[in-house]
């Protein structure tokens, strides 16, 4: 029953795409219709996933397509767990799109956007329920390609095209690695199906190769630190609900793939866990540091995705270490942190991208230093963005705190109990704490610069609140963040179900999450805090109505202008300076020399370390080295045919009986 519901949801998503394709181009009713189909897909899919998570049995069925070679699809708890964000963001995003990317305003690009949105959701769904390499790769490729077309929605802009190209290069390197991975998997296990495998049947070297291939292939999609190069550009230049989908859901498919692979290996070598934990820790700290250096709101959020993926990988690393050393508590805590953070990140990051989209929609700029004071014009957006910001910083009483707490419990528990790879824990725990602190600083910067103070540009002054169809998804997501924060007990059953297959080989059932973390106390404390916040808000909101409206932060100047406010960049400068070894900020400024200086200006920019620092120069070199081949590309069709001709001719020449001929000649 649960699998049928999920399949129905997938069919609805495809029919939404089809409806968008065939209905009239400029009609907003058509957009509404395909959004309705997406929302019904969301309801059906969530119902199916929830039924599995709250106790129904696994289901499996054949994939009736000959070309896929005996594929199977199935629904187990891990699939169901990842289906929840797919369908939730899929449905809410299309509702958001009705206000954000209205057909009247974007007659050319709205229709492809809706078509590929439906296809993306269907592809993601297929990928998650696949139990066979063919179906998995099919879903993966549908996802990758529809995401590409979504990224280049505004293909008339150079920035979007560039981001799209980098994305498609990245994603196709990833899929090539995955091809290699599955071929090796087939060679090692004798089949393409994704079924559990006992560790000793595979040679250690093969196992290591499989792990590295999986780490690279899935890591590119997930945006793990050295492989994140495609991520900031794609997230920044896609429409905001697409960024939400990319960051909230598509990145998670890398996590899903790796988790699926690791769940099939019963006794992983200890080094795997340590490696993943270390990569995760590096990813979180560097992600948040790069976020601090950004001026573009959506680029900043994109780097926060790198950070949060790092946190998710830290949880995964802990669980792997637990599995290697046979420590059930570590498995449960690590995996619970990892999985719950997948949910949480998709909730609050989508919320933040929706908020950023509303700001962009209202003020037509993503530059934090041109915004300001939007809280007065856009109270709903400001309030929900605040919820998302508090959640992403991992502060109580919201959901981010809960999942990070699981990981902290796991780290400290691992430290006290000992076991394999314990030496990395004392490094990892403080790094996670540093990440939280830096994230807080970063969101104080964003929220302060965008929503507080005075508007810094005329566009920001004329901003208006977002429409209802944009506010509604944000409110739903904010409520979900609060719900998981104040009632973490609700997540115990789904998490236990999803963790269950990770039991140690030959061991007993894993302990329940509820027995390891005092969830009730946590929930009570969070609820108390939430009530206190609400109370304080009501008290302060009730007062001060009579006071004159004045600019915030005017610092006692006689005639302050909004441009004299602290900017986001100046706020972050002290921290950016601390991390200058990683950020390499480029600053262009005209020094002020005279007593009565002329107009001066200052610019700063942080390049991406991997993309701009390594990849682009490396490929430029490669291009220079291979310029010799240019002479073969003259653009003349005849030449190209000649190359084919020469190839055919050479191949045929191998048939010539050269020896016979020579023998005949020299025999005379």
């Amino acid at each position: 029953m649960s699998l049928e519901l999920v399949l129905a949801a997938m069919a609805l998503a495809i029919s939404s795409a089809a409806a968008a394709l065939v209905l009239p181009r400029a009609s907003s009713k058509a957009q509404g219709f395909s959004a309705i189909l997406m929302v019904s897909s969301m309801i059906s899919g969530l119902a199916g996933a929830m039924m599995r998570l709250f106790g129904h049995a696994d289901s499996l069925c054949g994939f009736p397509w000959q070309a896929a070679g005996g594929s199977a699809i199935g629904l187990d708890a891990l699939s169901a767990f990842f289906l929840v964000p797919i369908f939730l963001i899929g449905g809410l995003g299309s509702v958001y799109g009705m206000g954000y990317w209205r057909r009247e305003r974007h007659p050319r690009s709205a229709r492809p956007l809706e078509v590929f949105w439906g296809l993306l959701v269907a592809g993601l769904c297929l990928l998650v329920i696949a139990r066979h390499a063919m179906a998995f790769l099919l879903g993966w490729e549908v996802m990758a390609l529809s995401a590409f077309f979504l990224v280049i929605t505004e293909d008339f802009r150079h920035e979007s095209r560039r981001a799209g190209f980098i994305y498609i290069i990245g994603t196709h390197i990833g899929i090539l690695v995955l091809f290699a991975f599955f071929v090796l998997w087939r060679k090692a296990t004798g089949s393409y199906s994704l079924m559990p495998i006992a560790g000793e049947t595979i040679a250690l070297g093969t196992m290591g190769a499989l792990f590295l291939l999986a780490l690279v292939g899935f890591g590119i999609k997930a945006g793990l630190m050295p492989l994140h190069f495609w991520l900031p550009g794609a997230h920044a230049s896609a429409p905001s609900h697409v960024s939400a989908m990319l960051s909230g859901v598509v990145l998670k498919m890398g996590v899903y793939g790796l988790l699926r692979f690791l769940s099939l290996i019963e006794d992983p070598p200890a080094i795997w866990g340590v490696l993943i934990l270390a990569l995760g820790a590096a990813s979180c700290v560097l992600g948040v540091v790069f976020a601090l250096g950004q001026h573009d709101m959506k680029r900043l959020l994109a780097y926060h995705s790198v950070e949060n993926i790092g946190i998710i990988f830290m949880g995964m690393g802990l669980a792997l270490m637990g599995r290697s050393s046979g420590d059930p508590a570590l498995i449960v805590l690590g995996l619970a942190g990892c999985l719950l953070h997948v949910w949480n990140h998709s909730l609050f990051k989508s919320l933040l991208f929706f908020g950023a989209g509303s700001v962009l929609h209202a003020a037509h700029t993503r530059e934090t230093d041109r915004l300001g004071g939007l809280a007065k014009a856009m109270p709903w957006t400001a309030a929900t963005f605040l919820v998302g910001a508090v959640a992403i910083c991992g502060l109580p009483p919201l959901n981010g705190f809960v999942s990070e707490l699981f990981i902290y419990f796991g780290l400290f528990g691992g430290l006290t109990r000992g076991g394999a790879g314990v030496s990395i824990v004392p490094v990892a725990a403080p790094l996670l704490a540093v990440t939280g602190a830096l994230a807080l600083a970063c969101f104080v910067k964003v929220y302060g610069a965008v929503f507080l103070g005075l508007p810094r540009s005329p566009a920001a002054r004329q901003a208006e609140e977002a429409t209802l169809s944009m506010r509604f998804p944000m409110v739903i997501l904010a409520l979900a963040c609060v719900l998981i924060g104040v009632a973490p007990g609700l997540t115990v059953l789904p998490l236990d179900e999803a963790i269950a297959p990770w039991k140690v080989a030959g061991g007993a059932r894993l302990p329940s999450l509820a027995s390891l973390v005092p969830l009730d106390a946590l929930g009570g404390f969070a609820l108390l805090l939430a009530v206190l916040c609400a109370f304080l808000f009501l008290v302060f909101a009730g007062k001060d109505r009579s006071r004159a409206v004045k600019g915030s932060w005017d610092c006692g100047y006689a005639q302050p202008t909004p441009r004299m406010q602290y900017t986001a960049s100046s706020f972050a400068q002290s921290i950016v300076g601390l991390f200058s070894w990683a950020l390499r900020q480029r600053v262009k400024r005209m020094p002020i020399k005279e007593s009565f200086p002329r107009a001066a200006s200052m610019q700063s920019h942080v390049d991406d370390a991997v993309l701009d620092g390594i990849l682009i120069p490396a490929f430029r070199r490669l291009e220079g080295l291979s310029s010799w081949f240019r002479r073969f590309q003259q653009g003349l069709a005849q030449d190209y045919i000649l190359f084919i001709f020469i190839t055919v001719f050479l191949l045929l020449s191998t048939l010539l009986p050269v020896k016979d001929i020579l023998a005949r000649i020299f025999a005379r």
């Binding site: 003259q634 005849q638 001709f645 048939l655 010539l656």
Partner: protein
């Protein structure tokens, strides 16, 4: 029967050389059309008693290659107002010599291929190779877009001859599919010729170099 087949194949080989050696495009088109008609007849010779499907295939091939495609190309030629291949990349005599060389080599190649005994005595394989190679030569040495279309046509004729080997195994549908492909391809080229003519005020494909990158 075998002698008749070989005789027809030799005529086809001569037609190849003729199509290499003339600069009047209209004559080349006519030669290639005649070649197509001959090729349409050959499948009927291979069977003792041709059935209805063979007759249909032969009829469609003859109508398409002998009448429709040459018609389309002649029309394109008239619209673009060209008569001759003025500046081939290599001269006419050298290209005939190349074609003769290619035919010789094709005979050499096919001697060393492992053949089913029933095909041993025929010229099918060497004729196929030779026609394909001549098609390549036309494609690489001629400049006018319409001559390129002729080259494709010759190339396809070569492939068709090769297909005669498989006349028992190849389903009719495949042959029909190939013909449809060819027809659409030529049709598109004929349209493109007109557009190249309008955009570059010439039908020389080497002008297309400016589209590079």
């Amino acid at each position: 029967m075998m002698d008749l087949l070989n005789a027809l194949l030799v005529i086809i080989l001569v037609m190849n050389l003729f199509s290499l050696g003339t600069s009047r495009i209209l004559s080349v088109i006519r030669i290639v059309a005649a070649q197509g008609v001959l090729l349409g007849i050959i499948p009927l010779l291979l069977r003792e008693r041709p059935g209805f499907p063979e007759l249909v295939a032969a009829a469609v091939a003859i109508v398409l290659k002998g009448i429709v495609i040459p018609g389309v190309m002649t029309r394109a030629l008239r619209d673009a107002q060209i008569k001759k291949e003025v500046t081939p990349l290599i001269g006419l005599l050298p290209s005939i010599i190349l074609g003769a060389l290619a035919t010789t080599l094709a005979l050499l190649f096919s001697n060393s291929l492992a053949m089913a005994p029933s095909q041993g005595g025929t010229l099918i394989v060497p004729a196929a190779f030779a026609t394909i190679l001549v098609g390549f030569i036309i494609l690489t040495t001629r400049v006018k877009a319409i001559s390129q279309a002729v080259g494709y046509l010759v190339l396809e004729n070569g492939i068709f001859i090769f297909g005669l080997l498989l006349v028992d195994a190849m389903p009719l549908v495949v042959e029909m599919g190939v013909l449809l492909d060819l027809f659409v391809g030529i049709f598109v080229i004929a349209i493109i010729v007109k557009h190249i003519n309008r955009a570059f005020s010439s039908t020389d494909t080497d002008r297309l170099v400016s589209l590079k990158e």
